[in-house]
Symmetry: C2
Subunit: 233 residues, 2 copies
């Protein structure tokens, strides 16, 4: 019997990355979950990620500390207000203040380092080019360019063991992602999406991330298990 393949799975604790972890497990990978404590205001996602990694059977869960507040430039790592109640066209037309400069590049770079040490063949990331917030680093062409760079950067790539950046959700709507996860037995009550949660963990219901989540569950015809602070939202 051949050894199971290893994958690093970027896990934020939200719907997308949780679904991705379930998919990687289904494909038979031994999964190494990786999260980042980067100074985000919504730190509760790290606790969620930790529980999800255990429940879904990740081999281990590594939280890397890197304080992106020193660099700044985002509402998610500063006191700038998180925008609320943006329309769908606003989300798709403008890169919002919640964009964290080069975040996926930083996360994938750390995952690349870990993949090289583990001798993992794949990195899974839950980027999505449809129901997303207009971030440039969620597009297929960006991911392909990162993969190409990664295979020139590392010992493994140079020695003929190419690494693959896997994006199983890139062309799915949020509703399809949720349906897929439910089919795989994912318990979405464990996940956190809100950019601006209350201290008790209640979601705001109005930031881009909450709005995409609410719409996704509605379109999937599946009850949203999230506790929103304003239950009318």
């Amino acid at each position: 019997m051949s050894e199971p393949k290893k994958a690093v799975v970027l896990l934020s604790g939200g719907i997308d990355s949780t679904t991705v972890l379930a998919i990687a497990k289904l494909e038979g990978y031994t999964c190494y979950a990786m999260s980042f404590n980067y100074g985000q205001r919504h730190k509760s996602e790290l606790e969620a990620a930790n529980v999800i990694a255990q429940v879904l059977g990740a081999e281990t869960h590594l939280i890397q500390n890197l304080d992106l507040r020193l660099i700044g430039g985002s509402a998610l790592t500063s006191d700038v207000e998180v925008p609320k109640d943006r329309s769908e066209s606003e989300m798709s037309d403008h890169i919002p203040v919640t964009y964290v400069p080069a975040r996926n590049t930083i996360f994938l770079s750390h995952a690349l380092a870990w993949a090289e040490v583990l001798d993992a063949s794949d990195i899974f990331i839950g980027v999505n080019a449809l129901d997303y917030s207009g971030y440039p680093d969620c597009r297929q062409e960006y991911i392909k360019a990162f993969e190409r760079m990664a295979n020139l950067a590392t010992k493994a790539g140079v020695e003929g063991h190419p690494l693959h950046i896997r994006t199983p959700l890139i062309n799915l709507t949020k509703a399809r992602i949720i349906q897929k996860g439910v089919d795989l037995g994912v318990d979405y009550s464990l996940t956190r999406s809100c950019y601006d949660p209350d201290r008790d963990g209640s979601a705001c219901g109005h930031c881009d991330s909450c709005q995409l989540r609410i719409k996704g569950f509605r379109e999937a015809g599946i009850p949203d298990p999230t506790h929103y602070k304003d239950s009318s939202s």
Copy 2:
């Protein structure tokens, strides 16, 4: 008068990155120096970098904390012994245990984030494809692939303000780098190269980095201001 261009300069405190900072200043950039406290055993390079940033007139010096010891895989971030007295052919033929997986990718990714926040047009990095230690992420094709990826990753790139990764030393020997730096008035006594220094900061004289430094000064015909613990080396 047009505004001076901004650059992020990766500064380790060694010969190469110090020379690069001097070059960027000469070209008229306002320089933002960036170093990393990544769990390296030779932390004294960070103090050196701080002094160098001030002496050479960087606008500011940011030290980003990111503990790569959690990821491991390198003699520079673990208890694995740093190899000594390797021959030149050993250095060029094998990727050594001092290789830190994906280090330049991680450093450049953080520089990319800062460049985007600062609206800087260039990132300077002192990689060198000649007198180097056999690391894959020091080659021109890697740098080009990173630049391409970077311009797909960021708001600036997407909005038509491409970022340039500048590698002014990539085709120079260590001796030529030192000559160039001396011409620009760089005081190399401020720089640190050793991977395995004594507690008092004395260089070992035998690791790859010390050997390349010693050879560089010898070939340049310039006295090496470094204090080596074994003065016979």
